[in-house]
Amino acid sequence: MWRYFLKRFLLMFPTLIGVAALIFFLMRVVPGDIVELRFAGESSAASKENLAQERSRFGLDRPLWKQFAEWMWGLARLDFGKSMWTGASITDEIKLRFALSLQLAVMATIVAVLLAIPLGVISAIKQDTWVDYVVRIFSIAGIATPSFWLGILLILGLLIVFKWLPPMVYTPFWVNPWQNLAQLIWPALAVGYRYSAVATRMTRSAMLEVLREDYIRTARAKGLVENLILSRHALKNAMLPVLTVICLEFAFLMGGLVVTEQVFNLNGLGLLFVQSVAHRDYTLTQALVLLVAAVFIVVNFLMDLMYAWLDPRIHYR
């Protein structure tokens, strides 16, 4: 078992390096660079010498492999460098948005779990009854509805019905918890509903599978109280795929909520992503992609651990 985990742990690195290489070269294939962008705004067009000067300032005229090597070397020392667009250190640029995205991801996940687990369990127990149908329709509606559209409707609803607008400026939780929550609860609901949908379906199907497992039949035959069966045996094994989904979706929430952030004006990682690509801010985009990929890879690894711990019946190659 330990050898397996070591192998999986080590495998994280080539994946990360692969992602790093991909984003590095992808950005450079995309036409246009930051210099052209900076100096071709609404009014004038800068001269060619200006552009060339600026390029060498950014080190963009050096050979590609050299740029890549320098960047990788910086990463090894955990130095992400500076954003090309603003010149500020990337850690600073990311810090503020990271806190917001993280909080939103956590809140959305809580909403999702609070909705999904009870709904999924009830739906599984009462399979094929009207309760099941209602829950299934509710959860599929969550998957089907574009969350940004839901966000638009939410804001509209608040405006028209309650004549109230959520705060549009971010205050960290420890500064002013009420304003912070008043702003983030709405996107958390819009996003959380969607993810509860996926998790509900997973919970339901996992519960269904497990409810029919042999050992449940045996437990029933032995005459254990129904509830005990459910809680101890069923839930524990149903957790596996549900946790899978929750973890994967959480990883996606960090940096994947581009459109939602636009709709709610949240200064999160998603918005930063889009801006950095639009600015052709190579260093920032690369750092962001690595960050998000790293979160995803680590979460996956932790999930593998959980899988092994929760269900020793599983065999691995």
Binding site: L37, G41, S44, S47, V169, V263, N265, L271, Q275, H279
Partner: protein, 525 residues
């Protein structure tokens, strides 16, 4: 060149409000929203309003545009108390105000003005100055004594004074520039009405009243706070929720309508033609756009008057215009404009002529791709309108949208048949607006090399009397838009600023780069 009498301009402290019945009240913090953040802090190398809006209050310029003039074309002195122009129009001498101090307490002298302008006009190697080419006419900047700055020109230029009133020509401290030319990219040190307090990235910018501002009694505000919000719905929400007083760029007609409906007379709306316009660039190097009949057909197809009425309800465009913003001194009056191709009142006749021309040129039912920029206002609505209008003369147009970073390189490479071109100025002045149509301009994406046009430009630039200048400008416009149709003007943008009625002392101008120092602004309570 035969010449005009030398002028002696008397300085007005740009302070007497045009229609000020109420007395300005001191105090309060102005809160406004800004759609984007400054990429660096140095105005000499940036051209985004994201820099001007939060930072202009920290700086003074030598000359500025009269903040109370709605046309935004009147130069008045900021740091300059008075000025004289030599008889031959080649020497401009400015007297600086006394007692102006930088925010660190040190006094401003002509050395600082000279150092700043040297940086703009004669930047050292490795330094970028975006406006260098606008001051090609300057031979040298001198500072003969601490209160005097002198500009010597190579040839007379009637627009020079207005040109100097550029909102980007911030006056920096000579000592700092001498030590480190790049210092101002990341730091703030000016003589403006507000001192710098803080900039929290992704969040806000705060400025505080400068107690030692040269204009005693001003600024009225205790300070200001600029909130960065990129989403326009959030900006509108902020104003609507009364969390912000104003946004200095412009809102859409829909936003204005919803604000007025929600807040009634707590909202004041100021609007004006905007010194921005989208033009259609046609690649003169690609068939059939090298044929001026085809180009003429493209402009004849457009019903500008109907569009002006309807598009202005949903997009930030409105006025039908030629080469100058309507309402400004050199703009062509509407009756004259109606004589140009595409500006006639009888659209059916125009379109019939367009079809005829297309047939003659063998381009009937032509298909082409129109490349546009992926910005919701007003690029996209105009794109939809254009395609529909061209359809009415049998043209089959497909639209391709490029995002900003791909868009500029595409234009520069000339990789298009027909594309949306754009121009945004900070001061309405033919010498600033027209150079892009000249043969040698980098911004002449359609590559129309027209010597006659170049010639007309020089004539108008060197004209000494307004009437003579107008004549040349009319000829220029006729050749550009009617005879050769090198470019096609769509509609002038329209700037709509709905703001809290508490905000006073701010007058809208055609440019969102102007009138941002906030020294004249005050809040009622």
């Amino acid at each position: 060149m035969p010449f005009l009498v030398s002028l002696v301009a008397l300085a007005q402290v740009a302070g007497a409000p045009a229609a000020a019945q109420e007395k300005p009240r001191s105090g309060g913090e102005l809160v406004f929203v800004v759609p984007s953040e400054p990429p660096s802090y140095d105005a000499h190398r940036e051209e985004t309003f994201g820099l001007i809006h939060p930072m202009a209050p920290h700086y003074s310029t030598l000359m500025r545009v009269d903040p109370f003039d709605k046309t935004g074309t009147k130069p008045v002195g900021d740091l300059a108390e008075s000025w004289t122009i030599a008889k031959d129009g080649l020497v401009y001498t400015f007297k600086l105000r006394q007692g102006v101090k930088f925010h660190d307490g040190s006094p401003l002298t002509s050395r600082d003005v000279k150092a700043s302008y040297d940086k703009i006009i004669f930047p050292p190697a490795g330094e970028v100055s975006l406006r260098k080419s606008a001051y090609k006419v300057v031979e040298v900047v001198e500072a003969p004594d601490p209160q005097t700055v002198r500009f010597r020109l190579k040839w007379p230029e009637s627009s020079f004074l207005l040109n100097l009133a550029s909102p980007w020509n911030w006056i920096y401290k000579a000592d700092i520039l001498a030590k480190d030319m790049r210092w101002y990219e990341k730091n703030v040190m000016g003589t403006g009405p507000f001192t710098f307090v803080e900039h929290v990235k992704g969040s806000h910018w705060v400025g505080k009243k400068n107690p030692n501002y040269w204009d005693k009694g001003k600024p009225y505000l205790d300070g200001y706070r600029a909130l960065f919000m990129s989403s326009s719905s959030a900006q509108v929400a902020a104003v609507r929720g009364e969390r912000a007083h104003i946004q200095f760029r412009g809102f859409t007609p829909a936003d204005r309508d919803s604000l007025v409906q929600a807040l009634g007379n707590k909202i004041t709306v100021q609007d004006s033609p905007w010194d921005c316009i989208l033009m259609i660039a046609m690649n003169h190097g690609k068939k059939p756009f090298d044929d001026k009949r085809v180009r003429r057909a493209l402009t004849l197809a457009l019903d500008r008057y109907e569009a002006s009425k309807n598009l202005s309800k949903i997009a930030i465009v409105k006025e039908v215009s030629g080469i100058q913003v309507p309402g400004t001194p050199f703009a062509t009056p509407p009756e004259e404009l109606a004589k140009l191709a595409g500006y006639g009142k009888d659209i059916n006749a125009s379109r019939a002529e367009a079809r005829k021309l297309l047939k003659e040129a063998g381009a009937e039912g032509l298909s082409f791709t129109f490349k546009n920029r992926g910005i919701p206002q007003p690029y996209e609505p105009l794109g939809i309108w254009l395609i529909d209008q061209w359809r009415q003369v049998g043209l089959n147009v497909k639209q391709e949208i490029l995002e900003a970073s791909a868009y500029h390189p595409m234009l520069k490479r000339g990789d298009f048949e027909v594309a949306m071109d754009f121009q945004c100025g900070f001061i309405v002045e033919p010498d600033l607006d027209l150079p892009r149509f000249l043969s040698d301009s980098d911004a002449n994406y359609g590559k129309s090399g027209d010597k006659v046009l170049d010639d007309l430009y020089v004539k108008q630039s060197q004209a000494t009397e307004a009437e003579e200048r107008k004549r040349h400008l009319r000829a220029f416009e006729k050749r550009l838009l009617d005879e050769e149709v090198h470019s096609i003007m769509t509609l002038q943008w329209h700037r709509i600023i709905p703001h809290s009625s508490k905000v006073k002392g701010w007058t809208i101008t055609p440019s969102h780069y102007l009138n941002n120092q906030l020294d004249t602004v005050w809040l009622t309570e």
